[in-house]
Amino acid sequence: MTTRITRDELAARIAADIPEGAFVNLGIGAPTLVANFLPDDEEIILHTENGLLGMGAAPEEGRIDPDLINAGKQPVTALPGAAYFHHADSFGMMRGGHLDVCVLGAFQVAQNGDLANWSTGAPGAIPAVGGAMDLAIGAKEVFVMTDLLTKQGEPKLVAECTYPLTGVGCVTRVYTDRAVFDVTADGFAVRELFGDNTLDELRELTGLDLKEQA
């Protein structure tokens, strides 16, 4: 079976691409793992949209502060150099293009950079969007972290999203368990293949005319 790196390996791979000094928002779910792999000796400033720059790791048991949480409502800490602000300021920061990187999960990413990650559109599902649409269109670089295929084997990289969109043309790079893809004017370009994955195999899995990295 072809190489599929683990979630932690993928998080580490993404972390390696985040430069020191970057302002970064890690979306709810798998993207939060990226924080575990940011280098201890570099300063990367995490933003959480509920009003904090300079977010630190989870507190120890007994030191949980219910007033200090992340966007996933998990307890966090604040680093020296942190700042608190209200929701309008926080989303102004995002929408105004001040974040360098955000990392989001996805149901689908289209070759033009469209992102679908908030709703499967299934009848009867309760819709919930949170800050996903703001993050998708706000950050300078929008990284998606996902498996290449769904559990049912359907590709998440697609010609056009069939799920409801989160943002139009907003994704800049997709990190999957098999390869890293840049979104270019010509569609997806393979930036890096993990293990024994080949371009031909990825083309077959996705049905897309994937480009070699320029």
């Binding site: 509920n50 949980i64 219910p66 409502k73 209200h86 309008a88 819709p127 649409m133």
Partner: protein, 248 residues
């Protein structure tokens, strides 16, 4: 002498009419004005439109207000959570109306109401279902949707400390929607841990000036603080750890 303090949460929510639009601060549990919500439930006011980021957690606070069938409509960004069973049930039964708004548009629409802005063009949501039917315009090469203010009759928020003029300071990420909701409601009602003497809040650090505040009630210190200093010893729900141990 100006004194916006009132003696109890019951007094604080007095007069909220049936059919009112009520903003409720908080992001999840952080900054949720639990005592004011409980008093609102006890007041009997019904047919409410609620503006909140979420749609209630567990069985307390906003979830309890929903469970008491007092809410006709909720305007929020993220109703579905692991513990939003009360909302989920009402929604599936068709017993509550939902207006889903991306979180940044929700915040900016509230801010616009408070700041006298008639409408604004936002890039968030453009090209998605949540911008369907809205006015779309390209400005300087980017596409925007027109969004309108969200106003309320009342805002119920939670802050850390107040003075009798209604100046407020918040604590950590419990600040969230409080400062903007305070500006957007005809009557803003605040619960705080403590009311301090006028002049004790540093004017450089006041986040919500008293001009936006109508009533303040002190509800006592949060379980994880001791004279304003964080001491911990609670769960994320704010339950003391020893209590937690003894009740499970």
């Amino acid at each position: 002498m100006i004194d916006r303090t009132v003696g109890s949460a019951v007094d604080a929510v007095a007069g909220i009419e049936d059919g009112s639009t009520v903003m409720i601060g908080g992001f999840g549990r952080a900054g949720q004005p639990v005592e004011l919500i409980d008093a609102l439930i006890d007041s009997g006011a019904t047919d409410l439109t609620i503006v909140n980021n979420n749609a209630g957690n567990g069985d307390t606070g906003l979830a309890a207000l929903l469970a008491a069938r007092r809410v006709r409509k909720i305007i929020c960004s993220f109703p579905r959570q692991s513990d939003s069973w009360v909302f989920d049930g009402l929604y599936r039964a068709g017993e509550i109306e939902l207006e889903l708004v991306p979180q940044g548009n929700l915040a900016e629409r509230i801010r616009a109401a408070g700041a006298g802005i008639g409408a604004f063009f936002t890039p968030t949501g453009v090209g998605t279902q949540l911008a369907e039917g809205k006015e779309i315009r390209e400005i300087d090469g980017r596409t925007y949707a027109l969004e309108y203010p969200i106003r309320a009759d009342y805002a119920l928020i939670s802050a850390f400390r107040a003075d009798r003029w209604g100046n407020l300071v918040y604590r950590e990420t419990a600040r969230n929607f409080g400062p903007i909701m305070a500006t957007a409601a005809a009557t803003t009602i605040v619960q705080v841990d403590e009311v301090v003497p006028l002049g004790e809040l540093d004017p450089e650090t006041v986040v919500t000036p008293g001009i936006f505040v109508d009533r303040v009630v002190a509800v006592g210190e949060r379980a994880w603080l001791d004279e304003g200093t964080f001491v911990g010893g609670v769960t994320i729900e704010g339950t003391p750890l020893d209590t937690e141990g003894s009740t499970r």
